[in-house]
């Protein structure tokens, strides 16, 4: 079983599925000859030919819309936005078409497309290269928003996303593209969508996160364990539709909850999770649900980005705060 990084797992999943389903095609800027600016698609053009791995002109509206058109024909396009910061031109296509085609034709025309984008900060990238606006997509009914946070989950969730009969926005936390390697079995086995993953069990507090922040969250859980606080860590993975059951079960047990995300706080996905838990677990909660998030501002350029990103000590402090109540 090879030890692979998250971005290699993405590549493995794409290769597996292209090998097993001739309908899977890839399109995006610089994905073919160059293998993508993060090398997520490296080698695939050589292996599957330029007809299935397509460099597009530089036009995100077009990339989104072309993928949708392909999907209506039963292809399974996987479109790459080079960075999440450049996804917005594709918004109209995602909101007004990808998310709705099945619904508006009552199932006659569907859109089994995947829209991949690297997202998040912390890699000292230039302006517009550190976005975390997953909440925009999670609010759109008809879109699935999936975020892996480990090589194994990247592999299994991407396979599931491609096989899913409806559109999936698949956001890859680029800060951890190469942070850790992990054995991943290349057996084509998908992981379930619409399900949170409990990464660590605990009794005192539920820590909910996704993407790169999962790593600070797990580190915080380690530190808390040293302090005798037992934290349950949940990776939401599919942000929408949201698996509230797993979250509520955990909070019913722990009575306390901290949500961690890199996106700005106001209207982030953490708000929906906090609101849902505060409503449904009202009687279970022994402390308010607290959010540890980015600030409500534009992601700063890299000299200040660490001041913006939630740190392990922020999470620990938040847990100490809710435990104190």
């Amino acid at each position: 079983m090879p030890n692979v990084t998250l971005v290699e797992a993405v590549n493995m999943a794409l290769a597996w599925e292209m090998d097993h389903d001739p309908n899977v095609v890839l399109l995006g800027e610089d994905i073919a000859t160059n293998g993508g600016v993060f090398r997520a698609t490296v080698g695939l053009k050589e292996r599957f030919g330029y007809k299935r791995v397509m460099d597009t002109p530089l036009a995100e509206t077009l990339i989104a819309g072309t993928a949708i058109g392909m999907a209506t024909q039963g292809l399974r396009p996987v479109a790459e936005f080079q960075f999440m910061g450049f996804i917005y031109a594709g918004m109209e296509q995602l909101v007004s078409h990808a998310a709705r085609l099945r619904n508006r034709t009552r199932g006659r025309i569907t859109c089994p497309a995947v829209f991949r984008a690297p997202f998040g900060g912390g890699i000292h990238a230039p302006e517009h290269h550190s976005e975390s606006t997953e909440a925009l997509f999670a609010h759109i009914p008809g879109l699935r928003v999936v975020i892996p946070s480990s090589p194994q989950r990247a592999y299994g969730l991407l396979l599931a996303a491609i096989r899913n009969p409806d559109p999936v926005v698949f956001l890859e936390p680029k800060r951890i593209y190469r942070a850790v390697s992990q054995p991943v079995e290349d057996t084509g086995e998908a992981l379930p969508l619409d399900t949170c993953f409990t990464l660590r069990e605990g009794d005192d507090v539920t820590l909910i996160s996704w993407g790169a922040s999962i790593h600070e969250t797990l580190q915080a859980a380690d530190r808390l364990a040293e302090q005798g606080i037992s934290a349950e860590v949940i990776d939401v993975a599919t942000l929408s539709p949201l698996d509230r059951d797993t979250l509520l079960c955990s909070v019913a047990k722990t009575g306390r909850c901290v949500i961690i995300h890199e996106a700005c706080r106001n209207g982030g996905v953490g708000a929906e999770i906090a609101a849902s838990i505060a409503e449904a677990a009202f009687l279970d909660l022994q402390a308010p649900v607290v959010r540890v998030t980015g600030y409500d501002t534009v992601m700063p350029y890299y000299r200040l980005e660490n001041f913006y990103l939630p740190q392990v000590e922020d999470i620990v402090a938040a847990v100490e705060q809710v435990i104190a109540l």
Binding site: K51, T56, L62, T66, A67, G69, T72, P141
Partner: protein, 359 residues
């Protein structure tokens, strides 16, 4: 040291306003059954259109965009496409939809505020009506790309208005169509107006067809009220597309003879005189004159056709009005292939609130 690169678009017309050929007609024009079928579809479309407007005015249908002035282009499209081709419409393509197998009652259902109006039982492959302007152009190139990937000899026809040619989606799609040699024909129906915005404010270009030059594909102007010109140019463009020779853009010049939609009042922004002149170029009348001239049509036949069309439309209206509202739960049941667990409580709530059976 100066040098230059030259480009052009051509322009095609066969009939004058009186329906008399200006030139030898293309050979396919000898198939009089084809021409007569075209004429019948145009009249049916116009009959339907008047009825739809009437339904809206009497509160039996929602906002509706009249097809008046577009019947010739739509009919040519419907005739030139094969069942294997894919039609990517905008919202004023009734004439083409009818020939592609969409039921009149389905069109009414759509504008009557019911998603089932896009479920098109007898037209499974065409894309649904696209309201967000020009967005469908990207789908058209995606579909055409799928055809190329699969080495199929099929083509896509994508319709849009003159206003839509200002929007990036269209221009980006033109460029892809050229770069990838895609089997797609962009049919721009230049009816001179985008709601209240006249063609002259929409773009400073002499023609719309010349926008093809920015995509590196051929651009053609045709008289959009001339059935022979539209058909002939489209047949050539489709042949080219299916033969793997790439995309084309056709600008069909016509006029929006009605209001933009039933919610619009065109007298606010355009003159009665302009409208009157446009009626003189009406393509249905023109084809009728041609048919008379060729002794292919008689007043009796016209009478009969009008009666038949009215009857067809009345039947469709009856079908439409008989459709009961969909269950409220439909709003959730078609969002995804399978209802996600997260939506189950909301579906249950709809059932409780609106008394629908659970599935």
């Amino acid at each position: 040291m100066k040098s230059r690169y030259d480009f052009h678009v051509d322009s095609l017309r066969y009939l004058n306003d009186q329906g008399l050929p200006l030139d030898a007609l293309p050979t396919w024009a000898e198939e009089s059954e084809r021409v007569l079928a075209a004429y019948r579809n145009m009249v049916l479309t116009r009959t339907f259109d008047q009825k739809a407007i009437a339904l809206q005015r009497t509160g039996q249908c929602g906002t509706y965009p009249s097809v008046l002035g577009h019947e010739v282009v739509g009919t040519a499209i419907g005739q030139c496409m094969t069942p294997d081709d894919v039609f990517v419409p905008y919202y004023r393509d009734q004439a083409a939809h009818i020939l592609r197998g969409v039921k009149l009652s389905e069109l009414l259902l759509y504008w009557g505020g019911d998603e089932r109006g896009s479920a098109w039982q007898d037209c499974p492959h065409d894309l649904p009506i696209a309201v967000p302007i020009a967005t469908q152009c990207c789908h058209a190139v995606g579909i055409a790309a799928a055809m190329r990937i699969r080495d199929e000899h099929r083509a896509v026809v994508c319709c849009l208005g003159d206003g839509a040619t200002s929007k990036g989606d269209f221009l980006e799609s033109l460029n892809l169509a050229g770069a990838w040699h895609l089997p797609v024909v962009f049919m721009v129906i230049n009816n001179q107006w985008a709601i209240s915005t006249p063609r002259s404010l929409q773009s400073g270009t002499e023609t719309i067809a010349q926008k093809a030059i920015a995509g590196g594909i051929p651009g053609h102007l045709v008289d959009g009220n001339d059935y022979f010109a539209v058909t002939d140019q489209l047949l050539q463009a489709l042949e080219r597309a299916r033969a793997g020779k790439g995309a084309s853009l056709i600008e069909a010049v016509t006029y929006r003879l009605g209001d933009h939609t039933t919610a619009d009042d065109a007298t606010r922004y355009r003159s009665a005189e302009e409208l009157k002149q446009a009626w003189e170029r009406d393509g249905i009348k023109r084809l009728q004159r041609y048919l008379h001239h060729r002794a292919l049509w008689s007043p009796d036949q016209e009478q009969q056709l009008q009666t038949d069309c009215k009857a067809t439309v009345e039947l469709a209206v009856a079908d439409y009005l008989a459709v009961p509202p969909a269950p409220a739960t439909d709003m959730l049941d078609y969002l995804f292939a399978k209802l996600p667990k997260a939506l189950e409580p909301q579906r249950a709530r709809l059932v409780v609130r609106h008394g629908q059976e659970d599935v």
